[in-house]
């Protein structure tokens, strides 16, 4: 069954390696990752090397109980994106690897169906035949009409670049978790209201039946019960039972641990006013307090418009009815929020992985420069700090690191099992087992095991999720880390794999298989779960939960010992629950043992902190050789790369600029931006409808850079203009044509230092006369020139305030501003620059400005430059020391000093600003003469 691992796609790899081996190998840490599809003459930057889709996209699929796996929607919703890629096929693939054990059922010993709140599972899988790699996020939504009340869904991020998926796993996981959380929240809401309606129906039905029975009783004078009467009575009883069951479900869904949301400090999807949340919790209160009351009218008080229907005794066959769509399953607000989030994900992860990585690295570095980074960096980048911290993902990441460390110490050999044994073990699990297990004496222990494992899953979800395809091309993907120890030779590949020392991630292999008929996912179990004992041991954990009624938090209770040990981790995983199977009104789950899924028993922890049962590492099984061959072949280039992906950026960057070096300036703006977008980020292609206001996005940077390039080439007086901006003198761009003025403002905005952590002090277009307050607030203003009397006023104001401003007249192409004789700006804005592309120039500017920032930082924070060394030292000597420092140590010439002084002043203001206390914006100025520059 594992007989056909997919190796075909990687045959080229071997030739390539041979070539490579002939050259003296670079030290691992300097090597550049090779393009996986590289061939002679191939453009390494064409993304579509072997995939059938043009760019990354997000696919949402469902495992429909009626038709099996089916794709629901893609983001972006554009047929061109997925191209010839077979979405149906891929849906089948991704839905068949669901790790989630979504059990819903009658827990033995519990009279009622029981809902469980299942943690999502996150899997990486690849289909090299299709050239597609995917991060797959499985989740279940509740649907009253569905079998077991659950509908399995998955969201997949599909990319042609495997590295991207692997390297961005954490980020993808975090982002998709947000989306999933949102979707599930909306679903719970919809499910609850669904239940309420159903309860009304049932209540109504009961009344009707009751009346009928009464009538029959009255008319019954024969002294014995007719079959009719008995039938009615039975029907009534079943309705009663159904009511109780549904009430129970409603209580369960409402007892969902919202606490978890609160803990995580992450509420991106609460409706603006918080109404909804309040509503929900309000409902909760209502229901809990009103449950004791006999009249249930209260419960439904807020859906008064609903007219109850009579429920037929026998519901329709489930294949006859139409299942709800995803949209119907979820509260509309949350649904749109989810879509927004998915669009956001799609945008975030667009582009080449090295680009993403470089971005992440520079972002991480920027965060360390907390004192100066506000000056020239995007406010949007810095803002991310805030939400990121409290988010669970981060926490998890750090815990992950701890775990990793821990696991590194006792490296776990990769556990590999044969599908055969696996499958048979599944098949031979008798359904009756539940009952036996229920009586077993070790509930606590087993529970903790499961918990541990799930926790493992939770924290190690960045790790390998292997899957074995049944004769098709789904393959197991290891992380790049695991692969890096895999050597190229096949023989070595057959050795047990242990985590490589230079990487932190532990290897917890979890296997999954797809059965031929692809109806149901078999398991998410690692090997040990195949062992019947383990299976037994772990399985009952789900049923050993205390009844939810006693569980105020609605979550699982863990043994106290565990709680102590995992105090922190529990936060993240306390919602780990397992669904139990429920006999729903219309579904067939009970009769079909095939639908019984083994419990998730994922991951394996070798360093068990609390001494609960640990599962010994499984020995390597030779049956996996073929598969490992795939691994080795596939990941071989990883071992060369050493994960230095960011360097990939350089060649592209150079090549890109060479490409367009011949285009004329005027063409530049468009053609290059197109090229660059094609080469890198694609950000130009789709406008983002969901988040229209992104302060400084890629596109803006590119545009600004391009306009700035044009500006410095067209205007010989670009230097004094830029100097004005850098030294904090407001520059007014005056013109009649709004487009021209705005273009200039955009161009110049990249030189404007921020005055705080807010957006840039740039005003693109003003039509009213300016006041002193404007110069205080804005450092770059686009101003409309008018011919009307108002225009005269405005010009009057300009000449009046001329000492505070520089005026760039876009119509007559003149500039009135102070003289600049420094050298700094000429490096920043050399009109003979070879840089051709906007984004490149933007980066060039950023790098010089960063240099400038460091100078300003030094200047600001050198004590003796500002304060006397001894008591007796005069102010003059401090001043001269200061000037010496600026001139000699920082190498600043003439007006450059003023730039650094201005930046230093901004740094000071930012630093001494008391948090929470708004600081009056200052206007600093000099009494210096201005000059008029003409072209």
């Amino acid at each position: 069954m594992i007989s056909a691992p997919d190796v075909v796609a990687f045959t080229k790899e071997e030739e390539f390696e041979d070539e490579l081996c002939s050259e003296p190998p670079l030290p691992e840490e300097y090597s550049v990752p090779l393009f996986p599809f590289a061939g002679p003459g191939a453009n390494p930057w064409s993304k579509v090397a072997s995939s059938k889709f043009t760019r990354d996209f997000i696919l949402i699929s469902e495992f429909s109980e009626q038709v099996g796996p089916q794709p629901l929607l893609t983001i972006p919703d554009d047929a061109k994106v997925s191209g010839t890629f077979d979405l149906n096929y891929f849906s089948l693939r991704i839905m068949s690897v669901d790790y989630q054990a979504s059990f819903v059922g009658h827990p033995p010993g519990c009279a009622y169906p029981k809902l469980n709140f299942v943690e999502d599972s996150k899997v990486v899988l690849g289909d090299s035949k299709e050239g597609a790699f995917a991060y797959v996020h499985h989740l279940t939504l509740y649907d009253l009409e569905a079998r077991g009340f659950v509908r399995p869904f998955c969201m997949a991020y599909i990319s042609a670049d495997e590295h991207k998926i692997m390297q961005q796993f954490q980020e993808l996981s975090a982002e998709f978790s947000k989306a999933s959380e949102c979707l599930k929240t909306g679903n719970r809401k919809a499910f609850a209201s669904e239940l309420e309606k159903k309860l009304k129906d049932l209540d109504y039905t009961r009344t009707v039946l009751h009346n009928e029975t009464e009538i029959q009783k009255k008319s019954n004078d024969k002294g014995y019960y007719t079959t009719q009467a008995i039938e009615k009575a039975n029907e009534l009883a079943s309705v009663e039972k159904s009511i109780i069951e549904h009430q129970d479900l409603l209580k369960q869904i409402r007892s969902y641990p919202y606490r978890r949301l609160k803990d995580s400090d992450f509420h991106p999807y609460e409706p603006e006013c918080g109404l909804d949340q309040a509503h929900v919790s309000c409902d909760q209160d209502l229901t809990t307090s009103d449950l004791a009351e006999p009249g249930e009218m209260h419960l439904y008080a807020h859906v008064p418009s609903y007219t109850p229907k009579l429920i037929k005794a026998k519901s329709a066959k489930c294949f006859d009815k139409k299942l709800k769509t995803l949209e119907e399953l979820c509260d509309i607000y949350f649904f749109t929020q989810t879509l927004d989030q998915l669009h956001h994900i799609e945008r975030t992860f667009r582009g080449d992985v090295c680009y993403l990585l470089t971005n992440q690295i520079s972002r991480a570095l920027l965060k360390q420069q907390s004192l100066t980074n506000f000056l020239f960096e995007d406010a949007s980048l810095l803002d991310e700090k805030a939400p990121e911290k409290p988010y669970r993902g981060c926490q998890r990441f750090s815990q992950d690191a701890v775990n990793r460390k821990c696991l590194e110490e006792s490296p776990a050999p990769r556990v590999v099992i044969s599908l055969g044994s696996y499958k048979s073990s599944v098949e031979c699990v008798p359904i009756k087992m539940e009952q036996e297990i229920e009586d077993s004496q070790e509930p606590k222990m087993t529970e903790s095991i499961t918990f541990e494992h799930q926790e493992n899953l939770d924290y190690l979800d960045a790790d390998i999720k292997g899957s074995i395809s049944s004769g098709e091309s789904i393959e197991v993907l290891g992380t790049e880390k695991s692969a890096s120890v895999l050597t190229k030779s096949e023989s070595q590949a057959s050795l047990p794999i242990s985590p490589s020392p230079q990487v932190g991630r532990s290897k917890v292999g979890s296997r999954r298989t797809v059965s031929e008929d692809s109806i149901e996912v078999l398991s998410t179990c690692p090997s040990e779960s195949l062992i019947p004992e383990d299976f037994k041991a772990s399985y009952p954990s789900a049923i050993n939960e205390e009844p939810y009624a006693d569980d105020e938090e609605g979550g699982l209770r863990f043994s106290p010992k565990l709680n102590l040990d995992n105090a922190d981790e529990q936060e993240g995983s306390s919602k780990q629950e397992n669904l139990l199977q429920v006999d729903s009104a219309c579904c067939i789950g009970k009769e079909s043992p095939t639908f019984l899924e083994p419990l998730p028993d994922l991951g394996q922890k070798h360093c068990d902190e609390d001494g609960v049962v640990s599962i010994p590492p499984q020995p390597y099984r030779p049956a996996e050789q073929g598969l490992h061959g795939t691994f080795a072949g596939y990941h071989s280039h990883d071992s060369v790369s050493g994960g230095l992906l960011p360097y990939e950026l350089d060649p592209r960057y150079l090549a890109g600029s060479r490409d367009v070096s011949k285009t004329s300036l005027d063409e530049c703006s468009d053609s290059t931006s197109y090229i660059s977008s094609a080469a890198s980020t694609c950000s130009d292609r789709t406008p983002s409808p969901a988040h229209p206001v992104i302060p400084v996005n890629e596109r803006h940077k590119k545009k600004a850079g391009q306009n700035a390039l044009r500006f410095i080439r067209q205007y010989p007086f670009a230097h004094p203009a830029i100097y004005s901006l850098l030294s904090g003198r407001t520059l007014i761009v005056l013109g009649e044509d709004e487009a021209i003025v705005k273009k200039l403002v955009t161009a110049l905005s990249i030189f404007v230092p921020n005055c705080g952590v807010f957006a840039k002090p740039v005003k693109h277009w003003v039509t009213s006369p300016l006041h002193i307050v404007d110069f205080q607030k804005w450092k770059l203003i686009g101003l409309q020139r008018m011919v009307s009397p108002a225009g005269v006023n405005m010009l009057h104001a300009l000449s009046r305030y001329s000492r505070y401003i520089s005026i760039l007249d876009a119509d007559s192409k003149t500039l009135r501003c102070p003289l600049y004789k420094g050298t700094l700006v000429s490096r920043l804005a050399d009109h003979r620059t070879q840089i051709k592309r906007g984004s490149t120039y933007y980066m060039h500017v950023q790098s010089i400005l960063t240099q400038l920032c460091s100078k300003a930082f030094l200047f600001t924070f050198c004590h003796h430059l500002h304060l006397p060394i001894s008591e007796r030292e005069s102010e003059e000597s401090v001043v001269s020391r200061r000037m010496n420092f600026l001139k000699i140590h920082l190498g600043l010439v003439n007006e450059d000093i003023k730039i650094v002084q201005y930046l230093a002043e901004l740094l000071k203001l930012q630093y001494i600003q008391e948090p929470g206390q708004g600081v009056n914006p200052l206007l600093r100025f000099d009494y210096v003469p201005s000059f008029l520059y003409k072209i």
């Binding site: 304060l867 200052l922 009494y927």
Partner: protein, 439 residues
């Protein structure tokens, strides 16, 4: 109009290189009053009083209580029996009330609303621990806001200015007249008596200022400036139509007369021990008490009427005007030796052409006088878009100006502020233990 002196963009002597715009008022801001070393209050036509920190520009309090525009404001430094100093301010409004505010809490302490007319001036007599309100009559109040005594109805127009004189006397400007009142603190109660009326002015008295214990000065709408003896209330000197070149050929030969009353009204007076500085029309005049004549002037110091002037300790003079600008002048004493003609180039550099010519010609004609003075423009502050009503000089803390454009602007010495920020920064660094920095 072209005669207005201008100064170039390069103003080496102008220390104000930083400004803070204090927003809050919704109408013309007319009054600024200093409360202590670092606080001041602003008030105006919106009836709101703001208290500001002069160093940081922080808005300390916003005092609401008046329904109409503020007509007078005065600080009231009173110390309790307990010796506790509490800073109070009195504000009078067109709603015919006077409110006493506590500056440390921003609370309204008391409100008096028994006035028959708008109180147009408030004077605190610290020595007697009473304060006077002047409207259509003159009332005397103690600190607890008990009405001690009042005069009969004086005039509908009301008292426009009120100044304390020695020997428990006050002088009130009522229309064209000056009325001297004496306050009598008898055991049976306070009384206020009209002592004398001075009727020398030809037109409404616009400004009244006390120079020292012996002298006070008044200025009228038609440009009369009279120096009075504060003890016997006699006229010591008068400068009637002192802008008239025919009367002052020696000092101001070139000044052309512009006889429109607005051009000649004495808007504001201030003085130091030696001189009285008068804002007359668009010009500024320096009148020497000793020489009893104008020793320096700037006939067109601003584009329109000068509203307020003040003398700084360092021989500098600041004026503000309806044209929205504030100008800093320096009173220069020129030893005029015939052998050393002033190089005109020097003055031209400062854009000082006309004044320079005046000075030179004046110098030639007054060679017998060994000294002469002139006002040199050393800087101007442009920020307000409308008439600058008043300003308040805070020494090294800076200068606060208020204007009809609803703004208060705090002008600061940029160098000093930068140094202070450095000090604060290193203090904060020390507090944080440098932990935030990863050097």
């Amino acid at each position: 109009k072209s005669s207005v002196q201008t100064i170039g963009e390069e103003q080496i002597q102008n220390p104000y290189t930083e400004l803070l715009v204090l927003k809050g008022h919704q109408d013309i801001v007319r009054f600024l009053v200093q409360i202590d070393d670092c606080r001041f209050a602003s008030a105006g036509d919106d009836g709101i009083i703001f208290l500001w920190n002069a160093q940081t520009g922080e808005k300390l309090f916003e005092l609401h209580g008046h329904a109409h525009k503020i007509t007078a404001i005065a600080p009231f430094y009173s110390s309790d029996a307990s010796g506790e100093n509490n800073q109070l301010i009195l504000t009078a409004s067109a709603d015919r009330t006077v409110i006493v505010w506590d500056c440390s809490s921003g609370k309204q302490i008391q409100k008096v609303s028994c006035f028959h007319s708008t109180v147009k001036c408030l004077t605190v007599l610290q020595r007697l621990d009473v304060w006077l309100s002047g409207g259509s009559d003159l009332c005397v109040w103690n600190r607890k806001l008990d009405l001690l005594c009042k005069t009969s109805h004086l005039t509908d127009a009301g008292i426009s200015a009120l100044v304390e004189l020695p020997k428990n006397c006050v002088v009130a400007a009522v229309g064209k007249e000056l009325i001297i009142f004496r306050l009598i603190d008898r055991p049976e109660g306070w009384n206020v008596l009209e002592v004398k009326r001075l009727v020398d002015h030809q037109d409404n008295i616009l400004s009244l200022v006390s120079v020292n214990d012996l002298t006070f000065v008044t200025g009228s709408h038609v440009g009369e400036l009279i120096v009075w003896d504060a003890l016997d209330w006699t006229k010591q000197a008068s400068e009637c139509k002192f802008w008239d070149s025919s009367l002052h050929t020696d000092a101001q030969p070139e000044i052309k007369l512009s006889q429109s009353p607005n051009e000649t009204s004495v808007q504001h007076l201030t003085s130091d021990e030696e001189c009285v500085f008068a804002a007359v029309g668009k010009g500024i005049y320096v009148y020497s008490l000793q020489m009893k004549r104008v020793i320096a002037c700037q006939k067109t110091a601003h584009d329109s009427s000068v509203l307020h002037i003040a003398k700084l300790p360092n021989r500098q003079l600041i004026s503000c005007s309806e044209d929205g600008s504030v100008r800093i002048w320096e009173l220069r004493e020129k030893q005029q030796l015939p052998a050393e003609p002033v190089p005109t180039g020097f003055f031209n550099m400062w854009g000082f052409g006309r004044a320079n010519k005046q000075a030179n010609q004046a110098a030639k004609k007054t060679q017998e006088n060994t000294t002469m003075y002139f006002l040199e423009l050393v800087g101007d502050l442009i920020g307000h878009s409308s008439a600058v009503q008043m300003f308040l000089y805070f020494g090294e803390l800076g200068l606060a100006t208020c204007s009809a454009d609803h703004l208060v602007i705090l002008w600061k010495d940029g160098e000093r502020e930068s140094r202070l920020r450095s000090v604060t920064l290193f203090q904060k660094l020390a507090q944080n233990g440098g932990s935030q920095l990863k050097f």
